[in-house]
């Protein structure tokens, strides 16, 4: 099985005009893209703007994507270029936090995003999510915890995890799935579906 299979499946659907498949790609990579652009821009709100622009550029450029490289490699290149351009533009223009009287809705949107991500409340929320996930992982049986940590933290493939744990690949797949289900249950309990609703698209 080749790597990037699932991304390519989604990319081909987008290239055939299925916008819903692009939503899945955004959901999968938004955290990684934001983390990447945070190396170039000042704050999380700006990083989100750059990430949004990155995904829109990627969507527009997808007809030309041929799959010569992995989708995420291609996406990361767009993200880095977009972040660099944002830094250049920002350095050229003065910072202006005044409300735009000509376009109050857009200004309000910007202000609300600044509040969501820049303020301590946003960071507390992120911390709470991380604490919940960590607590859920601690509560997992040893074999499930090892499997999900090796996958998410170490980035090992199922085959590598199977070799490390001395079990079949199918067992690894099952363990990782069960670990995710357990963590997902805790997340939904804590946030009463808020997280799921917030990320729902459609």
């Amino acid at each position: 099985m080749s790597a990037d299979t699932s991304d390519l499946s989604l990319v081909r659907r987008v290239q055939r005009g299925d916008r819903g498949a692009f939503d899945a790609l955004v959901l999968k990579y938004q955290h990684k893209v934001v983390k990447l652009v945070m190396r170039y821009v000042r704050n999380p709100a700006e990083a989100e703007d750059v990430a949004q622009e990155t995904f829109i550029k990627a969507y527009r450029a997808l007809p030309q994507f041929r799959g010569d490289s992995a989708f995420y490699t291609w996406l990361y290149r767009i993200a880095i270029n977009t972040a660099k351009n944002a830094v250049v533009s920002r350095d050229r223009s003065p910072v202006d936090y005044d409300l735009d009287v000509q376009n109050p809705d857009e200004s309000y949107d910007m202000q609300s995003r600044l509040k969501d991500s820049e303020t301590p409340e946003g960071l507390v929320l992120t911390d709470e999510i991380r604490a919940t996930v960590n607590a859920a992982i601690d509560a997992l049986p040893e074999d499930l915890r090892t499997a999900i940590v090796l996958r998410e933290l170490e980035g090992l493939s199922y085959e590598e995890i199977a070799a490390a744990m001395g079990c079949p690949v199918g067992t690894v797949r099952s363990r990782i799935f069960r670990a995710r289900e357990a963590i997902d249950r805790r997340l939904r309990e804590v946030f009463e579906g808020g997280l799921g609703r917030a990320e729902e698209i459609g």
Partner: protein, 228 residues
């Protein structure tokens, strides 16, 4: 397919561990099923949390904003890549211009060589000019008299000895350029020098003074230098 089996496949697809045919089917369903998409998004969020990535507020709505933005975009239609032809077609297309390129390169090299020869050999015209004038003196003294028994050479018209380079300058020229001139031209110039000195000492030399073989060599030099 049960929900558990579906979610299990979704988890494997998220990790790029689902076989391609199942991936195709699940991608189709994922693109349409919002609940499945939300679960997919939470898988990504928990992965970020496990990796302690605190850069993105998980309810930031970034994915929703992107989705709204691309909804206003035109529907994508994949365009064929400019170089998506078969390898054979690419090789054929690449082959037809190769001879043209070779010809252009050869012409360029030839032109450069001609220009270089013109620029790098300033002595040659000077020697040729000298040889074109100096042997005239010789011919005025010897070849002209020999014209009757030599039909293979054109007898140049007689010129005034005043047009010769002065013997001293001529000698300096020969010395200075002997390194660059061919033996034939050098000999011709030396002969001209001797002839010029003789002309200055004896304004009207006897017509049969030069040996026949020498006259023939000098005439050949004149001919080789392109003199009329």
């Amino acid at each position: 397919m049960s929900n558990e089996e579906l979610d299990s496949q979704l988890s494997a697809m998220f990790d790029d561990e689902l076989p391609a045919p199942q991936c195709e089917l699940l991608a189709r369903r994922l693109a349409r099923d919002d609940a499945l998409k939300a679960r997919w998004g939470r898988y990504a969020a928990m992965g970020a949390a496990i990796r302690a990535e605190r850069s993105l507020s998980l309810d930031s709505g970034l994915a929703r904003r992107v989705s709204t933005a691309i909804a206003a975009e035109p529907v994508l239609v994949a365009v064929p890549a400019p170089d998506a032809r078969s390898p054979h077609a690419r090789a054929t297309a690449a082959r037809w211009w190769q001879p043209l390129l070779g010809g252009a390169l050869a012409a360029g090299v030839a032109a450069a060589a001609i220009l270089w020869l013109h620029a790098a050999a300033p002595v040659v015209p000077a020697v040729a000019q000298l040889a074109a004038t100096v042997p005239d003196a010789v011919t005025t003294q010897s070849v002209a008299s020999d014209a009757a028994d030599s039909d293979s050479y054109v007898v140049p018209p007689a010129v005034e000895s005043a047009s010769f380079a002065p013997p001293t300058e001529l000698a300096d020229f020969v010395v200075a350029h002997s390194e660059f001139s061919t033996p034939l031209l050098r000999r011709s110039a030396l002969s001209a020098l001797v002839a010029a000195e003789a002309a200055t000492s004896t304004p009207t030399p006897p017509p049969q003074s030069a040996p026949h073989g020498q006259r023939q060599d000098e005439s050949k030099a004149v001919h080789a230098a392109g003199a009329p």
